[in-house]
């Protein structure tokens, strides 16, 4: 079989092949003594167009290409947690040890440590009947029992013919042998490969996401919640704080495993995560945050085709840990760069362009990606989930562009960042009125609706005041404006640099929201706007201090009393529209 390069354009190479080639098959272009990993993305007659995951400089017509017959896959097994990979699962620290400062092309290292010894405990016996995705044993990986499972690609009911005794094994040792229905024997190690572009479906059933995923950000948990197994997106212009929001979420979210896919973004930001996470302690487990994290990092200057693969690599790993009954959060920053990578390839393939030159299949690919999130009941009865949160970087900050629109169609929550709010240093800069969520939050909906209505009315008054000035606004309207400003200032905004305020537990959110509701629903007695303003300033100052105090500490209690006294001074009843709340 002779396969030869016949054309090069950017990172796309055309290959003339004899024999067979399959779509998304991995092949290697051999040039200058190096093998460059590539993926088939179109086949026409005996010519395959392949995208090269490396720089294509120096490739010449007539050079040899090796087809592997395998789809682009990742290695799944114990040892993934705590790793830093590129988009093709090359471990970056190991690569640095081998190649130095630069990412030399054509160097592919084993994703998992092949010499590390794991303590394997079998959970089935010879003769047991198992199916793909079912546990045959486990090893201890950090804080979890890492299930060793029957590879997902084996069909039907399998019989365990042989399984090793508990003991120390590496990932290359055979730990079991299973026989399929046809009588073929399959030796199993602790690792296997899975093609990244196929969803893992070895579970009993998919459930409806209903449990709130706690992020410890007040605006999200209270007003625009995310559910375990749900999806959400964060579109925003540059500088509005998408990445900081993702970083804060990756630290504080109440999940078992976090996978960060830095896709086509700044290397500097990944470095911060890389260097800081090992030092940060997860308050829940008392262990380093890195132990529950995997970083997939394909920054903007790394080859663009690998960027396209990186989100799939990340979601495949997420699904793998979900299969162990864990809750996994995948944070993809940014999906626009992924879409742009597809646009670049589509342009090279000279496909007929859709809107803004994005390919026509953009929507279905975005939908397909987010659909890999979900909460499932496994065959063992355990529940596992993958939650996907993707940032979107719309051109010009305008949400009316194809990637944002295609994403909004398929996600369950929308956290829109606003330039106006970030310019005013109101963080997190999520717009409380434009954003929405279809999931259930941690606070009674009637109460959050009331808060939202105050924000809405306050915004209207604010708009009006810009035209008629403060003196043309009635006292009642002015109080509504002050209430909405208060809610925004002390609850929606949150100081991610404050040691207490940066992560707020749900009990505390529920508790403080009730105090805020008392103020929002109160009929207040003021003689003038000046009096109203100065009273709100005072309450606000106390509340800000209150937010910064440890939950239920003496100072916390003291400030709470001050606040309720301030309220008692001015409260003369309850607003008519809030009476139904009781």
């Amino acid at each position: 079989m002779i396969n030869k390069v016949i054309g090069v354009s950017g990172n796309m190479v055309s290959v003339e092949f004899t024999g067979e080639a399959s779509m998304n098959e991995v092949c290697y272009i051999i040039t200058g003594g190096k093998k460059l990993k590539s993926e088939v993305i179109r086949i026409k007659g005996n010519v395959a167009d392949v995208q090269v995951f490396e720089m294509t400089t120096g490739i010449g017509v007539g050079e040899t290409v090796e087809f592997t017959g395998e789809l682009l896959s990742v290695q799944l097994g114990p040892g993934l947690l705590g790793q830093v990979y590129d988009g093709l699962q090359n471990p970056l620290p190991k690569l640095a040890a081998e190649c130095g400062f630069f990412l030399d092309r054509g160097v592919y290292l084993s994703a998992l440590d092949e010499t590390k010894v794991w303590k394997f405990t079998p959970s089935v016996e010879a003769g047991a009947k198992v199916e793909a995705g079912e546990q045959i044993g486990f090893v201890r990986e950090g804080i979890f029992n890492h299930w060793i499972m029957v590879p997902f690609h084996l069909d039907g009911v399998l019989t365990v013919k042989r399984i090793v005794a508990a003991g120390d094994y590496t990932i290359k040792d055979i730990v079991a042998e299973v026989e399929d229905e046809k009588g073929d024997l399959h030796p199993l190690t602790m690792v296997f490969n899975w093609p990244v572009k196929r969803a893992i479906k070895s579970y009993a059933e998919r459930l409806k996401p209903s449990e709130t995923l706690i992020t410890k950000l007040r605006i999200i948990d209270t007003f625009i919640p995310v559910a375990k197994g749900g999806t959400y997106c964060i579109p925003g212009p540059f500088g509005a704080g998408k990445t900081v929001l993702q970083q804060v979420t990756s630290r504080n979210a109440e999940v078992d495993v976090v996978i960060v896919a830095a896709c086509g973004e700044r290397a500097g930001e990944v470095v911060e995560t890389l260097k800081e996470f090992p030092e940060l302690i997860d308050p829940k487990t008392g262990r380093s945050l890195m132990e529950r994290t995997i970083i997939i990092c394909n920054t903007s200057s790394m080859p663009v085709a690998a960027r396209e693969a990186s989100v799939y690599t990340a979601v495949t790993m997420a699904e793998y840990y979900r299969q162990m009954g864990l809750n996994v959060l995948l944070l993809a920053d940014s999906t626009s760069r992924w879409a742009q990578a597809m646009r670049e390839m589509s342009g090279r393939l000279e496909e007929i362009p859709g809107e803004e030159a994005f390919p026509a299949y953009l929507e279905s690919l975005i939908a397909g990606f987010y659909e890999r999130a979900g909460i499932v009941r496994l065959k063992s009865g355990a529940i596992g989930s993958v939650t996907i949160g993707g940032t979107v970087s719309p051109a010009g900050g305008n949400f009316e562009e194809p990637v944002t629109q295609a994403t909004l169609k398929v996600v369950g929550a929308f956290h829109g960042l606003s330039r106006q709010r970030s310019d005013a240093r109101k963080y997190p800069a999520i717009h409380p009125l434009e954003s929405w969520s279809k999931y259930k939050g941690i606070i009674d909906e009637q109460k959050t609706d009331y808060g939202r209505s105050i924000l809405f009315k306050g915004d209207e008054v604010d708009q009006m005041m810009k035209v008629v000035g403060e003196e043309g606004t009635s006292l009642d309207d002015y109080i509504i404006y002050l209430k909405s400003d208060f809610l925004d200032f002390v609850y929606i905004q949150q100081n991610s640099f404050d040691p207490v305020d940066n992560a707020v537990e749900p009990e505390r959110q529920q508790y403080t929201y009730d105090i805020i509701m008392d103020i929002l629903t109160a009929k207040l007695n003021f003689a003038s706007k000046e009096e109203a303003r100065s009273w709100f300033n005072k309450v606000r100052q106390n509340f800000l201090d209150y937010n910064g105090k440890k939950w239920k500490s003496d100072e916390f209690n003291k400030l709470e009393i001050t606040i309720s006294q301030l309220l008692a001074d001015k409260k003369i009843g309850v607003e008519a529209d809030a009476e139904f709340l009781g």
Partner: protein, 432 residues
């Protein structure tokens, strides 16, 4: 092994095609025309049809001209001999000096392994309060100046180059006006830093395509100096010209345009240059200051928009001043905690008051009544613009902070500033 072909099949814009065998992607060739020879780079291979972009442009190229393939991609000489020299966009001497051919290095090399980067931690002092105090520049940062034609962005670059404490300065000019080129040369010469500067200058009168090489050459040289432990400052002006040159080639190659005619890979192309900014673990660093002129003062134009997503902040230069709103240094938090205890508080506090001044100004222009507070803000805003924002102010950070306290004290009562009481106790100037 040099192959010569003497039949050019097609000439379209700055792109020519020849039928040739054994050619490699990105390989260089020399096209000899009757008006002199030019370098050309292979940009597409399709069986035996080779497309090249000609750096001197397609004008005057004849179908019978000779194309000689050099068998290797674009390279540039790297040694200390570069210092003090001036080259054009293809790396040929512009200063009449000898051509350099020792230790040639490839340009546009692979990206740095993120695992070998470190978190930036050193401030670059510029003597400009709007930068040092409010949006501190940090070593290894990549930061563009967003501006419009006519603004003194090149003067600003030159000033920063003169005052920044770095080992080396590399200037990459793309579509630079000849006057501006002379201005840089004279200013750096007068400032006595020419001996540690390297120029790669493509002027507005040179063929457009040649500007495509400038960032890659400048950054390849910078990268090698940085690996040798040097702290390098790279100035790139103006990146919009670079993007426009890419647009031109993309359209000639009949690529599908994505946004306002720019190619779909604009983000990737810009990012692969800006991302060369780096602080190497255990070695030197590259800091990149670029200029991006915004056509029509429109920040949503594809070039500034994509740039903003790539860089670590931006400085808005408008009406000869660095605007405090919109300007941002994403890395300032890494360094401004260890300068002086009042740095962060003054940074936020003064800008908040300046924002309030802007509101009062708006109210005033709409004819609303001015309160005493508004009057105070108006005085403050005026002083702030004159003594902090004006680009002629040239003082170190510490003096700028003192100046800030002076301005506050002459305009407000301490409790009106919203600053913490401990800071006021230490820094507030007692008015006599």
């Amino acid at each position: 092994m040099q192959k010569v072909y003497s039949k050019i099949e097609s000439i379209s814009g700055n792109v020519i095609t020849v039928t040739a065998a054994g050619v490699r992607y990105k390989e260089l060739a020399v096209v000899g025309t009757r008006y002199g020879s030019s370098l050309a780079e292979v940009i597409r291979l399709k069986r035996d049809e080779v497309a090249l972009q000609v750096f001197n442009g397609g004008r005057g190229v004849s179908t019978g001209d000779e194309v000689r393939f050099l068998g290797e991609p674009m390279k540039v000489s790297f040694s200390d001999n570069l210092l003090g020299r001036i080259f054009d966009g293809s790396g040929r001497p512009r200063d009449g000096g000898p051509e350099l051919t020792d230790s040639m290095i490839e340009i546009g090399g692979p990206s740095v392994n993120p695992a070998k980067r470190i978190i930036p931690r050193r401030m670059v002092r510029t003597g400009i309060p709007m930068i040092d105090l409010f949006n501190t520049l940090v070593e290894s940062q990549k930061l563009p100046i967003f501006s419009v034609s006519g603004e003194p962005y090149n003067e600003l670059l030159a000033r920063i180059a003169l005052q920044a404490e770095v080992d080396l300065i590399i200037l990459g000019g793309m579509g630079l006006k000849y006057d501006d080129y002379l201005f840089f040369k004279e200013t750096l010469e007068k400032g006595g830093v020419l001996s540690r500067t390297v120029f790669f200058v493509h002027t507005a009168s040179d063929p457009v395509v040649e500007s495509l090489l400038v960032p890659d050459i400048a950054l390849a040289v910078a990268e090698n100096f940085a690996i040798h432990g040097k702290r390098v400052l790279v100035l790139l002006t103006d990146m919009t010209n670079f993007a426009d040159a890419m647009k031109e080639i993309a359209i000639t190659m009949e690529q599908v345009p994505s946004n306002r005619g720019y190619p779909g890979d604009l983000y990737t192309q810009l990012a692969s240059r800006y991302e060369k900014a780096v602080d190497f673990d255990g070695s030197g660093s590259i800091t990149i200051l670029g200029v991006t002129t915004m056509p029509g003062d429109d920040v949503t134009h594809p070039v500034p928009d994509n740039t903003g997503y790539i860089t670590e902040g931006q400085f808005y230069l408008r009406n000869g001043r660095i605007e405090p709103f919109g300007s941002l240094s994403r890395l300032k938090q890494q360094v401004n905690g260890d300068t002086r205890p009042d740095h962060r508080a003054m940074m936020d506090g003064m800008i908040k008051l300046y924002a309030a001044y802007k509101e009062s100004l708006e109210k005033k222009s709409m004819g609303f009544k001015m309160s005493t507070w508004d009057e105070k803000l108006l005085t403050y805003g005026d002083m702030f613009e004159r003594e902090m924002m004006d680009l002629s102010v040239n003082i170190p950070l510490e003096s700028a902070l003192d100046k800030g306290w002076e301005i506050l004290a002459s305009c407000f009562e301490p409790e009106e500033t919203g600053l913490k009481s401990e800071l006021i106790a230490e820094y507030w100037l007692n008015k006599v």
